[in-house]
Point group: C3
Chain length 266, copies 3
């Protein structure tokens, strides 16, 4: 059932080719742009305060990623986020490294407070920190959180009024009422830099054409995860795996997504 | 005839290994550096106002790309451009996203007004906007211009006193008097991020060793396009296509360029 | 003998997975992150003055790379370097382009003066400039130095009280007393952008788990060089060579490193 919904969303992405505005880090920005293209969207990266509002206003979604943060970039994110809220396009926030430094934690909290974020997507540590559930983050890697991640994500989503995604071996997607577990993916995705960021870009691309953030998020993660599974079957080392990951997402058929999505309710 | 001229230029690139100074965006900068190496040049990326003049002054060409723009970067571009003009090395401007935001449009116009730009290379929408010919740009993608692109490019080149390149399925290269159409390339080049930026880097590399900007531009686009055609024959998906694109440009022989260049006068 | 020491270090990297904090350029930053992962470390890139001290304090090593420098980034490097010195983690400095512009030369000198740098790793021109031995740098490429590089590196290391690495066909590693020559590597490594930066990241990763900077540097360069040799055997063109370089470092076995390291005393 979910599979066919996801295939519908992917089909819409490929027909509409939504513009996905990113304000993101300079480490994985090229990968984010290319994976957006592979999903079927049109990426645009722009971060100057002088132009982000104009760019967000004509886009289908806004992806905010704090992977290499500075105070000026936060202001650009706030301005772009307000323009996105006004234009009623979804805002996706990836709080990379929240919990690792005060700047990241405080900035992620400020973005959540000042903007209507549609989808908050992080690893267990990052979400744990932001939810006040004892998350631990070292660098940009999760060292876990205290308690049951599903419960924490659900409660945090309910209180904040948004969709929370915790990425991991099984991805958790919840808006506080519905909770989906996405089981697609491959451990090799953790051995290259940027798969978390890329996943957020695919989520943004799906959310640009789908009003339901839970379905958009789960569908995007299933599609990206299946691409990861297929890439891993072709190549077991990080360099060629990464090349294959782009290839497989670009080549992913709607029927494949429908058939291979492994999603269940929590 | 053009083919053998192009092969001469590529031969000079490989002997002289010109330094190509880029002030460019952080999305595709790595691709620009690598494609410059594959063409036979030596890339250097430097954007601080404190050093751009020194760097430009020892380079063979200066490539300005406004893909991720901010006001401070524009000042660096102006300073470097003036140093390049003084050193009499060609300045190549890629006005990425001009027309999409005021910052980009105004900055591109200012660079054209304050610098002696040798080659202006953009998509149809960007050039249409800058030429006042009703260009439409969404994000960084062209949605076309009003009228005949060859006519518009030719007139704009004549008025501005520079060489205009409109990239597309067929690339248009004109200085207002001579107009060449370059037919090399493959649709797959549009499915990866950065081919437009990379093309500008190759143009800059060729222009560094060739006084004729029309020949340098057309030769570079033919060489890059042939590499794209050969890469597409090896791989039909974006990840491996991109890898092959670098390989094929690096391996491109002078005789191949001479033989496979498809260029005609408009 | 050295081979087995190097294998020990690589083994420790893979067990401890040290966090390697980079303040680096935006050209090769993605490659640096991925090669750190391939070596067995955990990369984190953070450059805002508001967070670099916190990040450095929890890391195993700090890599400073001035490839795209500006005055604000230098302040971040100074702050992070002091935090690293206080936390007694090694600081690795790659003075990319020192000698090409005053900003780069002066900044590299200031970092050396104000921080306790553990390992200074550059090409012959860069080290020659910083050692006052007539180095010549064009863009970011070495055009050599005046005199015997081994002698210059040794004397400079002794005077500065650090380990100096001169990368080249044969890498020189010296702390003024011991001098090792690492012969691993392949000429193809010079045909892609970023191998110098990546080598510094691998050096940082090894130094994070090894108190002896000479052994950490030589071991890292041997490991990276062997990966380059194996990659070159698989692919002779820059695009696929680069993919293979990541693959081969990730797959490098401890016994392979022990067996294939080609290191001798000068």
């Amino acid at each position: 059932m979910y599979g066919s919904l996801f295939a519908d969303i992917l089909g819409r992405v490929r027909v509409k080719r939504p513009l996905v505005h990113h304000i993101t880090n300079y480490v994985t920005v090229n990968d984010c742009a290319n994976i957006t293209l592979c999903a079927g969207g049109a990426p645009v990266m722009a971060d100057a305060q002088e132009e982000v509002c104009e760019m967000a206003a004509v886009s289908g979604a806004l992806v905010l990623n704090i992977g290499t943060l500075n105070p000026s970039l936060v202001e650009s994110m706030i301005a772009a986020g307000r323009a996105a809220n006004k234009a009623k396009i979804p805002v996706i926030l990836d709080p990379v490294g929240a919990g690792a430094t005060r700047l990241r934690t405080d900035s992620a909290r400020r973005l959540l407070a000042e903007l209507e974020v549609s989808i908050l997507k992080g690893n267990a540590g990052e979400i744990g920190v932001l939810a006040g559930a004892g998350g631990v983050v070292k660098g940009v890697d999760s060292e876990g959180l205290k308690g049951d991640p599903v419960q924490i994500a659900r409660e945090f989503a309910r209180v904040e009024g948004l969709t929370v995604v915790i990425s991991g071996e099984v991805d958790i997607v919840t808006d506080g009422k519905r909770t989906l577990l996405v089981e697609n993916g491959d451990p090799l995705m953790g051995l290259i830099c940027g798969t978390g960021c890329m996943a957020s870009s695919v989520v943004g691309t799906f959310a640009a054409v789908c009003d339901d953030p839970v379905m958009a998020s789960a569908g995007a993660l299933a599609a990206f995860g299946i691409a990861g599974e297929k890439a891993a079957r072709r190549c077991g080392k990080p360099g060629c795996f990464k090349v294959a990951l782009f290839d497989e997402l670009a080549a992913l058929g709607l029927l494949e997504l429908e058939q291979y999505a492994r999603v269940k309710e929590a």
